[in-house]
Amino acid sequence: MELLTLLIVFVMLVAAISVLLLRNMIAALAAASVVSLAVSIIFVVLRAPDVAMTEAAVGAGLSSLILALGLRRLGLWRLERGGDNLLLKHRGQDVQEDTDHG
């Protein structure tokens, strides 16, 4: 059980730091949702099934839904996109993804 706890806490902290560092807003929202999910798993480990159910339903469910709706209405819902192809911005130079492969 200690290895499982250590792993989940590590994933949770990495996701929490990446909320502050990611530039794409959708990715930051997904990372916050991962934090909520990890906290809900820890609640199960701590023998609190009621709280785990609430945190999973609210944090990883309804809260992310509300925030994603808000992102869409704010116009921040976009990936890095140029024209029709998905441009990979790689350190300033644009590397166009090869779409000819069938």
Binding site: V19, L20, V51, T54, L67
Partner: protein, 155 residues
């Protein structure tokens, strides 16, 4: 290598979440990221509460017929309430962010703080950076020569 005990890792995790959340609120420039940092800080605080009520070799507080000792139910009841209140707060904060975005067109804190200060000062009728209680002008100090000569004339 022996792994650290679960208690220490869980406490470090909860404290780390709270600190990352609060540091994120202070450091972030985007208004939406401040809201996400608030979500993280709330999750960390709730986890710390439930952590305080844990007991080793205990089961969840639901009666199933076994006579084993149970975990403390009071922090769990408090955290149940706190999680639902948290989602209400996030919804209200999101509505405020959407209104700000509609009014100002940007979510950047540096631009927003300057324009908000300008709008508030314009509504109050003063120039930005000053307040209404400032004195209207500078009083001239009395010149020392005039005082001494007047007193000499009266005496």
């Amino acid at each position: 290598m022996s792994l650290p005990e679960p208690g220490m890792t869980l406490y470090a995790g909860a404290i780390g979440l709270i600190v990352i959340g609060i540091a994120g609120i202070v450091i972030s420039k985007n208004l939406f990221r401040i809201l996400l940092a608030l979500v993280i800080a709330e999750a960390g605080a709730n986890m710390m509460l439930v952590l305080a009520g844990f007991r080793f070799e205990a089961i969840a507080p639901i009666i199933t017929g076994q006579g084993m000792p149970m975990v403390d139910p009071v922090p769990q009841a408090m955290v149940l309430t706190a999680i639902v209140i948290g989602v209400g707060i996030q919804a209200l904060a999101l509505s405020l962010i959407m209104r700000v975005y509609k009014a100002y067109g940007t979510l950047d804190m540096r631009v927003l703080s300057r324009r908000l200060e300008q709008d508030i000062s314009n509504d109050a009728g003063v120039s930005p950076g000053s307040s209404e209680e400032e004195p209207a002008g500078v009083r001239p100090l009395p010149s020392p020569m005039g005082v001494i000569s007047k007193q000499g004339a009266d005496a």
